[in-house]
């Protein structure tokens, strides 16, 4: 077993929420979705160029679902790549050009697909992290069967996130995080706009890196500097320190983040104020109040 036999898989999950990107295009035209995808492609190419045995997967996360950009159903494997008519003529490593073409083609399909009527865009820009996390995770699980026996695969996931968190996917998301932790899969996060508590937790639990980049136009530089090295190499590099993660729980009544609260001992639901009945499981609680000191009655003196 040598280091060459080890396969390093990088899965890049790109948030292509059209609402956010559409608004972004009008807000700050320097970083458009195209430019973002270019930067991601650069990272993917670099990763594959580092070692021959590195593998790449790119997933685009849309509002309601996610799609594999690379590898996709048009991918025939490494052998037939040369027959592809659209191979670039600049002498590029075939694997890279094939990958780029596939990604470009697929993202065009994804973004220009007719949006079906029943798909409702939520009023706020939300990202459905769990869906494509589920997809990528399944992909990772399939990998040992795709390659020959005896090859170890180390994988990590990089999430490039643009829009905000969706609180309703919390449970699925946490399950995915713990599953990744058990499988030793790192989750890194590169956040473009607003901080995401869920991704912070994911990175903290699995041992990945969370970074909110200050300059969007330098996205490629950040990706290459911080997220290209894998976990072994990172121990040798000076990288941004882990962020402080807010692990506070939110109370069930107001969804405020609290540090000290009341927890029902039956159903473990968290409240910020004491109430004698738990609203989730309807258990009644009794708390001993301080005893009232009865005033002593003075004995009447008996007259002799």
């Amino acid at each position: 077993f040598s280091a060459e036999d080890e396969i390093n898989l990088l899965v890049i999950v790109v948030d292509v929420n059209p609402i956010w990107w559409g608004q972004q295009a009008q807000r700050e035209p320097e970083l458009t979705l195209s430019k973002c995808l270019d930067a991601v492609m650069v990272l993917g190419n670099s990763h594959m160029a580092m070692t021959r045995t590195n593998k790449l997967a790119v997933i685009a996360s849309h509002c309601q679902d996610s799609h594999f950009l690379y590898p996709n159903k048009n991918w025939r494997g490494g052998d037939n790549g040369g027959e592809d008519a659209s191979s670039s003529g600049d002498g590029k490593y075939e694997l890279l050009s094939v990958a780029n073409n596939l990604i470009a083609e697929e993202i065009r399909n994804v973004m220009t697909k007719k949006v079906e009527g029943r798909q409702t865009f939520l009023l706020s820009s939300l990202i459905m992290l769990s869906n494509w996390h589920g997809v990528s995770y399944r992909y990772l699980l399939m990998l040992p069967f795709l390659f020959s026996v005896g090859q170890e695969i180390k994988s990590r996931i990089l999430v490039v996130k643009a829009a905000e968190d969706c609180a309703r996917q919390y449970m699925n998301f946490m399950n995915v995080i713990f599953a990744a932790q058990k499988q030793n899969i790192l989750i890194d996060a590169c956040v473009l706009d607003s901080d995401s508590g869920l991704l912070q937790q994911a990175c903290d639990i699995t041992g990945g890196l969370y970074l909110k980049i200050p300059q969007k136009i330098a996205l490629a530089q950040y990706l290459l500097w911080v997220f290209l090295p894998d976990s072994e190499q990172r121990s040798q590099l000076v990288l941004p320190p882990p962020a402080h993660v807010d692990y506070r729980a939110a109370c069930f009544c107001h969804r405020n983040l609290i540090e000290i609260g009341y927890v029902c001992s039956v159903c473990l639901s968290i409240f910020c104020n004491f109430s004698p009945i738990c609203t989730t499981c309807e258990t009644a609680f009794k708390i001993q109040l301080p005893q009232m000191v009865k005033p002593k009655k003075k004995k009447l003196k008996q007259s002799t």
């Binding site: 609402i19 559409g22 295009a25 009008q26 979705l33 195209s34 430019k35 995808l37 270019d38 930067a39 492609m41 650069v42 190419n45 990604i103 470009a104 993202i107 065009r108 973004m111 220009t112 949006v115 865009f121 009023l123 706020s124 820009s125 905000e164 968190d165 609180a167 309703r168 996917q169 919390y170 449970m171 998301f173 946490m174 508590g197 869920l198 980049i213 200050p214 300059q215 136009i217 330098a218 490629a220 530089q221 950040y222 500097w225 941004p240 320190p241 807010d246 506070r248 729980a249 939110a250 969804r255 405020n256 983040l257 039956v266 159903c267 639901s269 609203t279 989730t280 499981c281 005893q291």
Partner: protein, 516 residues
Amino acid sequence: MASLSEEVLLVVKKVRQRKQDGTLYLMAERIAWGPEGKDRFTVSHLYADIRCQKISPDGKAKIQLQLILHTGESTTFHFSNESSALKDRDAAKELLQQLLPKFKKKANKELEEKNRMLQEDPVLFQLYKDLVVSQVISADEFWANRLGDMNNSDPTPYNNKQDVGISGAFLADIRPQTDGCNGLRYNLTADIIESIFRTYPAVKQKYGENVPHNLTEKEFWTRFFQSHYFHRDRINTGTQDIFSECAKQDEKGLKSMVVQGVKNPLVDLLSLEDKTLDEGYGVSTTTPSTSNANRTVKESSNAAIIKRFNHHSAMVLAAGSRKGETPTDQASETSSTDGNSRDSDFFQPPVRLQEAIEYEDLQRENRLKTVALNLKKSDRYAHGPVPLQSQHYTTSQDIINSVNHIRHEMVNYKPNLTQVLSSTAASSAITALSPGGVLMMTGTQQAINQMIPTEVQGELKHLYAAAGELLRHFWSCFPVNSPFLEEKLTGHLEEMLQTAYSKFHVWQTRRMLRKT
């Protein structure tokens, strides 16, 4: 100190202590020694304080007796009477051996327990040193909650001694030694006597009846050994023998045992007999008859011995299972002289068989009754710790515009990988990521436990633990429902906290001084 009203049990003259001649006095509750000619005692120890005694080995010239106290001190007495030193020393030792066990207080056990606890738990030991040795808390308060209820509750956890069983060979162990002149010397120890009494309650009864009214102990046992009851052949039992009754009772008991039989369904004693195959394979040519006349003398004596063996074994087993019975319980004794164990009615098949015939998964499940959780609003759990903030409001027109824009942009998407990054952007990003850059600021904070030397950390931890202990005392005073607790809170604890605080202050200043 030395009161003449104490009963003096033994006086030994010519005992030296610390190279001084004197006299040793053993009294009812203590042992004392006074120098020659003087009236008072210089050395006096209560028996309760003495942990153990030691004597010098027999070969040594100096005949000494050493007393070791619980506190670890020791006192040595040298018996210097030329003629009777050894006798004196042995007499003193015997008396002490009898007296010391009586005075072993329970408090010693407590002390041992405390020592053990302190040795086993270094944290507790440190706490003890910090609080009690430096006089912040008194030792009693420290141990108040820790020893549990050693004094109050029943001491069964500590007295879980198992009863000593009876050796089956105890009678055989009394090997008689020839006395030189045609006599036999039987060595009876207390253990053997106890075994005899437990196994043969009839003998015990006889003992109770006759000693000390009619016979002395020595005479009783002499008679016992002389009687044929003891010997293997019980053919001739004279009516003068006080043990003839015992023999009759044993016969009765044996008969009733046989009648009762063994209640083990897996053992069928009645079908056990010698099965003969052929001549030469253990054949008995004549079927054994039960009438006494046909038996040879040898056969009948063999039968008698075997009968006695069986009876003896049965009695030993019965005595072993009769534990817990008080010796004065006469009624229950007589009821179980037949030797059957009490719990023979309740038969348990051996464990091996039970394992073989029972399958765990075929048996009915004995699940504990549980109460189901009744959740009314279970979707609350699914909501993550994302506060419900006001989201950006986007009109539907905005949405449609954005989507169209994107679609328009991406329809002709072609990767342009040579124009991804401008050099200015790249260099500013690198600056931000280099040490000292915007993104690297939080990393320069060093963990505090790397900045402080470990010994200071250790001392601080001990102080913290001691403070926690004091707080525990504080909180245990609530709710204040007795004047004692009130007084403790306002007076005593206040003092304790002040002492602790000043101690901390001292430590702090000392540490600060060291730094500068």
